[in-house]
Symmetry: C2
């Protein structure tokens, strides 16, 4: 089975969104995906793209995607953040995720960043083992904090 990885174009976004939605369903959050194909096309392929997307293809079908963007560390400067790495459920355990992962690390290397980072959910032991074997470090003493739209509005109301 030949797996090829390339940068996605705007025209590939419907399939990328389908993968994003498939993952959200798998994570039991089917309603969490608020963005549209248009959003992905506008934000990824406008004058100042907010992300770069890689896709994996098998027999010309898109079966996986990885979405990355730059962040900025006050210690090491520009870094690459891997937001999502998704492989279509029926195509897992065939090395597609590894190919996408390699494309992401190569991209970070080519961009000359001093760090590539992402988040992992604690119970995903397989992923954690894979990341550690590849040379990444899991900083289990750091947690992610999020304020959502409602939280932002409530906070702003109290300020005024």
């Amino acid at each position: 089975m030949e797996i090829s990885v390339r940068k996605a174009e705007a025209i590939d976004m419907p399939k990328v969104l389908a993968l994003i939605k498939e993952l959200a369903i798998f994570e039991k959050e089917p309603d969490a995906v608020k963005i549209s194909v248009q959003d992905l096309q506008n934000h990824g392929y406008g004058a100042t793209p907010m992300f770069t997307c890689f896709i994996a293809e098998v027999a010309s079908n898109i079966v996986g995607a990885a979405l990355v963007y730059f962040r900025f560390s006050t210690w090491v400067g520009p870094t690459v953040h891997l937001e999502d790495l998704i492989v279509q459920e029926s195509m897992r355990r065939k090395g597609i995720g590894e190919k996408l992962y390699a494309a992401v690390i190569r991209y970070g290397h080519l961009q000359g960043v001093k760090r590539i980072e992402w988040n992992v959910i604690d119970w995903n032991e397989g992923a954690i083992k894979f990341y550690e074997n590849s040379g990444a470090k899991v900083l289990s003493d750091w947690s992610v904090v999020q304020m959502d739209e409602t939280g932002i509005s409530n906070y702003i109301e109290k300020l005024d």
Copy 2:
């Protein structure tokens, strides 16, 4: 004591870097800061700025800084990430951090993002309580993963 918060200009970066270094020393990582004033000026004030920096001033002295940039969520689209919020040690517990935090949330609100996010170290109970009281959620089941420069090089070598 009057605290004013404004967007930083390129000319403010020497003092911002001093704050970054002060924090690194406090965190017992004095050699972790690899970037220069020039890096901050180039990446923050070029044609496509990689971050926005807010600074807090007391009597025209810069005593705190918060550095933010956009990220892109595959669920909710553009988000604001708070990379660092620093208050000069001698000026802590005077409400400066809260003013900077409010400036960041206002900024996210004005930019129309559906999420503002950042990381927190698990033992910083004071910060966690403050964030939760403000309406943010600590996702303690998610960890940060990082591959550093050496990890990237080693991984690439094995690929070739």
